[in-house]
Symmetry: C2
Subunit: 347 residues, 2 copies
């Protein structure tokens, strides 16, 4: 009997979760609820690749050798210094009869769980990789557990675009769930011109939002969001300034019943709390969120708000987010612009 979270694949230390394990069992034979994927490409986590490149002074051969050594030793790709992994793209090779992931042999998929908990074997010595990019062409296989996340890459969208959508697909999923619990609510998205923010706006609309307020940090983002047509009102404010932010939201039709924080800068908790009305909810999707700042901030302001930690997973979240992108030309434009900007930054 296999464990849905992969406990049976943990070799050492015993009794920990796969992510915390030093070494995983990467045997190719799958359990009845597991899935094996033939790898096409690993995407190393940016922090992990940077650490390796710096350590080896950009010597691609040395970086390649260390990545191979890590995977050989640990049975998974987890940088021992940064602790981070990445994700992978591949094709489904075998599906256990009791797998609930909804995958079929031949599906081209992206894993949405971290490489740090994914049993992995490399079979080509990464010969097609020069060790100079996070994108690692690779031959080999990976194992998904009973409870895991992999999404089919749609044929009608560029792979890079699909991956960008999947990266943030938890945001619209949770936003929809919370918004649908209110009648005709006012929804405020902070960081509304970004990837998670634009999808959150589109998701809130589908879930029945009455009024959508998009907050952005500057005039450029405001113009882009206006052009996308996703919000009923666009406000410019520094999300770290509680008074400025809440004043801007009030002027735009707030306070909000549901506030969604999608900006990855610290210090946005107070402003989000002040922008949300009594009985409202705040969803924090930013990894820069401080648990204690949110908890103590709400108490200090005597704010009767429900505060949620943005869970990156919900059933069907990837397909639903891709659907939002297809249905909203405005979301698509914002994503295309972000991807183009990121590509430009890399060169």
């Amino acid at each position: 009997m296999t464990s849905p979270v992969g406990l049976h694949r943990v070799i050492e230390p015993a009794g920990v979760l796969p992510q915390a394990a030093f070494r995983l069992d990467n045997n190719a034979e799958i359990g009845t609820d597991e899935v094996r994927i033939a790898i096409e490409r690993l995407n190393l986590d940016a922090a992990s690749f940077r650490q390796l490149a710096t350590k080896h002074a950009n010597d691609g051969e040395a970086v390649r050798a260390e990545v191979l050594e890590i995977i050989r030793t640990r049975g998974k790709m987890q940088n021992p210094v940064t602790g981070s992994g990445g994700m992978l793209i591949g094709t489904v090779e075998e599906v256990g009869p009791q797998s609930k992931l909804g995958l079929a042999v031949g599906d081209r998929v992206s894993t949405l769980v971290s490489l740090t908990l994914t049993p992995l074997v490399i079979e080509d010595e990464l010969a097609s990789w020069d060790g100079r990019s996070e994108q690692v062409p690779a031959d080999g296989y990976a194992i998904l557990f009973g409870r895991s996340i992999a999404a089919r890459l749609p044929a009608d969208l560029p792979t890079e675009l699909s991956l960008a959508v999947m990266d943030v697909c938890g945001a619209p999923a949770l936003t929809r769930r919370i918004v649908s619990g209110y009648a005709d609510p006012t929804v405020c998205v902070i960081g509304a011109a970004g990837k998670s923010g634009s999808l959150a706006l589109a998701g809130a609309r589908v879930a029945g939002a009455g009024r959508l307020i998009g907050v952005v940090p500057n005039a450029d983002d405001a113009a882009a969001l206006d052009d996308a047509g996703l919000a009923d009102a666009v406000a410019i404010a520094d999300a770290r300034d509680p008074v400025a932010l809440s004043t801007a939201v009030l002027k735009a039709g707030g306070p909000a019943d549901v506030t969604v924080v999608c900006v990855d800068v610290p210090g946005c908790e107070g402003g989000a709390i002040l922008s949300t009305g009594d009985g409202g909810a705040i969803i924090f999707f930013s990894m820069a969120t401080s648990f204690s700042a949110a908890a103590l901030g709400a108490e200090g302001l005597a704010a009767d708000v429900t505060m949620l930690i943005g869970n990156g997973y919900a059933p069907g979240h990837a397909d639903a987010a891709l659907e939002l992108l297809r249905d909203n030309a405005g979301v698509r434009r914002l994503f295309d612009a972000r991807i183009a900007a990121e590509r430009k930054m890399e060169t």
Copy 2:
């Protein structure tokens, strides 16, 4: 027109919330929604008092002089090094006609918002304080804003017990709200023999929990919780060990529909997630909770759970928690034992 969160009392820097201000206006004249309290005692935050005592090598006179100087300069008691304040006990002196705090002149109250945002004036030079304890007898007054929190100290309970209950009264309030959204749910409280934990159990029962599981770290706490009779099942487990914790919760009748985390140690996120079933909710009340560990943990485990940041405030939370204590002899016994143990540690 006064601001319900006290913006009109901020002198410098302009445009920040009272907690972030260097200096507040502590004028005795109240706005139409404000309340003035005649102070009986300040309770300095433990970290703040420790810093002051260490800095002045336990010279009580010097500590007293610095506290007076801080309050004189800032118009509030906020330790410039630790950033922390404390709370106060006093008697309501004047209530603005538009105050919504539900207080009447003569009420003996405790403030449940921090001294770091409370306008304050000391009028007796703290003459009755020797500077050697966090408990500071004081004459003077404090101002509460339109949106603030103060709770009447009940005449039928010792002040120390009431304060201990009020300190954690947000936990049972939010637990009740979330539990009542499920039909006949299984509720698991981690750290169930503690103050917030025992009140969470009692609150969950009132809100219609079907089965109550209390998790504690050792046999002593298990015996105390058994004796209190608050849980249907008591389990012993290390909350930082995800596999051990979730196994113990399963054996005790889990997974839980609602999991409440009340232990103030880091690393409990994974275990709480694994102990909670699909569609369930987790409420984190521990200030040691890591936002990113919770968010990434749920995603890594493909866990369809709603995760909440424990908000210390909800309307009526203090009175409701005191009511739970009065109605549950078991809760009372656990509180009395904790208070006795803390007193013993201090001597």
